[in-house]
């Protein structure tokens, strides 16, 4: 058997294309407007004329008819056969242009847009008079895949009229019609008018705020507030390198999660494409909402999303750069606004700074961090302290903070998202050799030792306490530090936390698994953690100075358990059991 030709069930193909390609029936208006707009652009290449599109919607109790009329270039009978009757043929592309879509002035190029009308009508009637031929041709396409064409009995002026008898189950009414024309037609560069039942005409022509001669004003703000249902206060224009993609960026007036993907409104060649576009700005710009029109981006076949290519990547990077430039300008011209933005969107800006060295260079002083002296900008922190310590873990910070405060040492809590990487980046950049990453052991080691004679007096008691804590692998040290109300500070490394965890699992396992774990876990002997008792604390002093005959085990252990919990470290079953015993002992002792 030689080469055969695919058999196509045309009505099935039409149904698939019209029903599955588009997300909802409303887009037929977009496709009709787009075809009309492209026909007008094509005619403008040949002659100057007053372009217009008019939409009529006729409604009776029995029927609804939509007629869309343009005065574009029109179609000859041959073009009707080619472009209306062959799926995939378009007057607006040839093969060579397939990979160069964005270069064209036309919005459409797939030759399938008219099919969307089959979602709302069983027949599509097209009357068209070409600029090249005074004859008016009538073409009728049906959803069953057939069409007919004939010369019309009366001659129209140049242009095309599309008539659709709207199916009864399509909820198209005058209000919906107006809403759809606003959505898809507001910014089209032609006079777009509309009449209901041949009544008064209404017009839909608007201009993007960023195209107006004056700087962005109230209309830009209103557009943003209405579009995104927000109450923006800060907005600015953005554009790509050659100005082919332009728009407005609105800074969200509230904090958003870093994982949030910001949705933007995208127009391509002034035709609405999507209010759900998350691809036009870089991911780090999740604190911004944008309305953008692009003359250099292309759409996918459904025209409901943007086509992924190098141009999209270039545009995305350029618009990102545009946002950065604006923030840099703010730091010079309006620092209060920048502070306000950083207060709300610090996380996003920190994420951005980690990606962009130039931005990092400019913004790092503006970043704010929680510290032992309150929330401060990095510039303020530098001014306050010669030595800047930071802790990468919130739990460790909680332990350190009271000691640091009492010892007049500023410590940054860098346990929140992006803070540690930002400070580490500052360390690597070697701009601030005053920065040091610490853990609780740092303070334990720099706190004041006891006087040697005092230590010797207490030595026997300290050693007895050490014995008490041996079963928990805790090394004991005694220091004197502020604040006085803090009896102890505890430190355990993450490695040791993990080893304790494995030992807990092992202790709760059956003999087989306990034995296997024992065979593979090679824990070095020695203390796992360190408890710094504070001799300045009254309770600790009492404990260290009690008569050696007095049983102090429960007290020492309770100080350890307390420090453990204050540091948010997990408590083992053994520790929990001992804590319960101690509580009962202490209650009993005091009754």
């Amino acid at each position: 058997m030689g080469n055969a030709i695919f058999q196509v069930n045309l009505s099935g193909v039409l149904k698939v294309l019209s029903d599955s390609l588009y997300s909802n029936w409303e887009v037929f208006i977009r496709e009709l407007l787009q075809n009309a707009n492209d026909a007008i652009l094509a005619r403008k290449l040949k002659e100057d004329f007053e372009a217009s599109i008019h939409v009529d919607f006729f409604e009776t109790a029995q029927s609804k008819v939509l007629i869309l009329k343009d005065n574009g270039i029109g179609l000859t009978s041959e073009e009707m056969v080619e472009f209306l009757s062959k799926i995939g043929s378009s007057s607006k592309r040839d093969t060579a242009d397939l990979f160069n879509r964005e270069q064209q002035s036309f919005i459409g190029q797939f030759g399938i847009g008219l099919l969307s009308c089959f979602m709302v009508s069983d027949t599509i009637e097209v009357l068209s008079t070409s600029i090249a031929n005074t004859k008016t041709m009538k073409w009728i396409g049906k959803a069953d895949g057939t069409y007919s064409m004939e010369e019309s009995s009366h001659n129209d002026r140049v242009g095309t009229t599309v008539k659709l008898e709207i199916k009864s189950d399509i909820a198209l009414d005058p209000d919906k019609m107006v809403a759809l024309l606003h959505k898809y037609g507001d910014y089209l560069p032609v006079n777009l008018s509309y009449s209901y039942n041949a009544g008064k005409e209404s017009f839909f022509n608007k201009e993007f705020p960023w195209l107006k001669k004056d700087s962005l004003g109230n209309d830009a703000l209103l557009l943003g507030n209405k579009t995104f249902n927000e109450r923006f206060t800060h907005f600015f224009s953005i554009q790509d390198e050659d100005g082919s993609t332009r728009g407005i960026a609105y800074i969200l007036p509230r904090a958003t999660h870093t994982a949030t993907q910001s949705k933007h409104v995208l127009y391509i060649k002034k035709m609405f494409i999507s209010s759900d576009c998350d691809e036009i700005l870089p991911a780090w710009a999740f604190f911004v909402k944008a309305i953008v029109n692009s003359d250099n981006l292309a759409t996918t076949a459904s025209r409901e999303s943007v086509y992924h290519n190098d141009t999209l990547e270039r545009v995305k990077a350029s618009l990102g750069k545009s946002i950065i430039q604006h923030l840099v300008q703010l730091s010079k011209n309006d620092p209060d606004s920048l502070k306000e933005i950083i207060l709300i969107h610090g996380q996003a800006l920190k994420a951005l700074a980690l990606e962009d060295d130039a931005f990092f260079e400019f913004i790092s002083d503006w970043f704010i961090f929680p510290t032992t002296e309150g929330v401060l900008s990095f510039a303020e922190i530098k001014a306050l302290s010669d030595k800047i310590l930071f802790v990468s873990d919130i739990d460790e910070y909680r332990q350190i903070a009271p000691v640091a405060r009492a010892n007049n040492q500023l410590v940054i809590n860098a346990g929140y998202i992006y803070d540690t990487p930002i400070l580490q980046k500052l360390m690597i950049a070697d701009k601030f050799d005053r920065l040091t990453l610490i853990d609780p052991e740092y303070f334990g080691n720099i706190l004041n030792d006891l006087d040697v004679e005092l230590y010797d007096d207490l030595r026997a008691r300290i050693e007895a306490m050490q014995v008490v804590l041996m079963e928990f692998d805790v090394e004991l040290d005694v220091k004197a530090f502020e604040p006085k109300n803090l009896p102890a500070m505890f430190y355990m490394s993450q490695d040791d936390v993990q080893k304790r965890d494995f030992e807990n699992i092992q202790s709760e396992s059956d003999d087989l698994w306990a034995g296997v774990s024992d065979a593979v876990l090679d824990f070095e002997t020695g203390f796992r953690s360190k408890l710094f008792l504070n001799y300045s604390n009254e309770i600790v002093q009492k404990l260290l100075n009690t008569d050696s005959s007095k049983k102090i085990d429960p007290y020492v252990q309770m100080i350890y358990f307390n420090a453990l919990m204050m540091g948010h470290y997990p408590i083992s079953n053994k520790e929990l059991a001992r804590m319960n015993e101690n509580i009962l002992f202490l209650i009993n002792n005091n009754l």
């Binding site: 998202i417 993450q494 993990q498 494995f502 699992i505 709760e508 698994w513 034995g515 296997v516």
Partner: protein, 368 residues
């Protein structure tokens, strides 16, 4: 990527974010912290999910001892009737544990046997049938050097057609069979089973990337030098050397020793040797050090007295000021290989790893 640990939602988000993430030290630490936080929140379900994620990370980071130490907690939780939705996942992870038991010389034959029986019971209760049991017993026995038992289980595994939802993927199964054929020195069947993998008709995340080092060496032994060269190139290109891949790189080092490609061999050493300092499984170390010993013996045979070697760890192969003296390295490596072979053989009750050492060094000396 940065993570927060303040609320249960943060922990859930972290676990979810890392569910399909690549393995890294950073991700391991995040999940370790998630376990700790879940314990503080006293949320066992959250802890369960964190431990699942943690086990996956450490297993594929080749930190097998941590994976083994984590497993009993998950099994116990399932046995107590909790987290039944994830029972299948736990059984799937159990396979990772079983397959690595024999790599640790400190795990006794009795313990391995008991855990194999435990796995068999759990798998049969799950409805797997015996095929998968024979498959794992084949692998474990092969690693234990019990080649007659490995062969017996291999026959039963290959004869049985009953597949199950716990089966290794269609690429991993033949790839694991290749290890058994390699231990058996059955190169005919090795070549047959390797074909679909090398033709990439069956592939997975690891296969055939992890197959090439074995096939390169076998093809070299069989005198198919062009094919071996090509596969060694792929082995080097496809495997990420930023994590420990000691078994595979042991094979590749053996190959570079045979071909006397010293620059390529040294690159492998410099990227993998440091991992030995933190690696416990003796079998991994044996394979890597045996390849390294062959490499240094080849250097010695080529008249090289010393070689520059950039490694960070101390107490490994003797290196001073970035220079490694070849005779000293050979002595050190011979001690290591022998000590590891002795540990494995003592546990296994056979001489398999001595025989392996003799066989591979014999290849280098042209005795095989």
């Amino acid at each position: 990527m940065s993570f927060e640990f303040n609320t249960k939602e943060d922990i859930e988000y972290n676990i979810y974010s890392l569910q399909y993430a690549d393995e890294s030290e950073e991700n391991e630490k995040v999940l370790q912290k998630c376990i700790q936080k879940a314990q503080l929140f006293k949320d066992k379900d959250l802890e369960f999910d964190a431990r699942l994620g943690y086990l996956r990370q450490v297993n594929w980071l080749n930190k097998k001892e941590k994976a083994i130490a984590t497993m009993p907690w998950l099994l116990k939780r399932i046995d107590e009737g909790h987290n039944q939705d994830s029972a299948h996942t736990v059984l799937w992870m159990y396979k990772w544990i079983i397959i690595n038991l024999s790599d640790f010389a400190a795990i006794s034959l009795s313990q391995i046997d008991q855990l194999l029986n435990d796995m068999e019971k759990r798998f049969l209760d799950h409805g797997t049938g015996m095929r998968i049991i024979h498959y794992f017993r084949m692998i474990v026995n092969s690693d234990l050097g019990n080649m007659s038992q490995a062969l017996e289980h291999m026959k039963l595994y290959l004869k049985d057609n009953k597949s199950c939802d716990l089966d290794d993927c269609k690429a991993c199964q033949p790839n694991n069979l290749l290890d058994v054929y390699l231990n058996l020195k059955d190169f005919d069947n090795f070549q047959k089973k390797a074909k679909p993998l090398l033709a990439r008709t069956v592939t997975c995340k690891e296969v055939p990337d992890f197959t090439y080092s074995k096939t390169a060496m076998v093809n070299y032994i069989l005198g198919k030098y062009d094919v071996a060269t090509e596969q060694a190139l792929l082995a080097r290109k496809k495997i990420n050397l930023k994590k420990a891949v000691l078994k595979e790189m042991g094979h590749l080092l053996s190959y570079y020793a045979l071909t006397k490609e010293f620059v390529k061999g040294r690159t492998i050493l410099e990227k993998q040797l440091d991992f030995c300092a933190h690696t416990q499984p003796e079998l991994f170390l044996f394979r890597f050090y045996l390849g390294t010993l062959m490499f240094f013996k080849a250097l010695q045979g080529a008249g090289k007295k010393q070689i520059k070697l950039n490694i960070a760890s101390q107490n490994l192969i003797p290196v001073q000021d970035g220079v490694c003296k070849v005779p000293e390295a050979v002595t050190w490596l011979e001690q290591q290989v022998q000590s590891l072979a002795d540990k494995l053989n003592t546990r296994n009750g056979n001489e398999f790893y001595n025989e392996e050492k003799v066989y591979y060094l014999g290849l280098l000396e042209g005795r095989v």
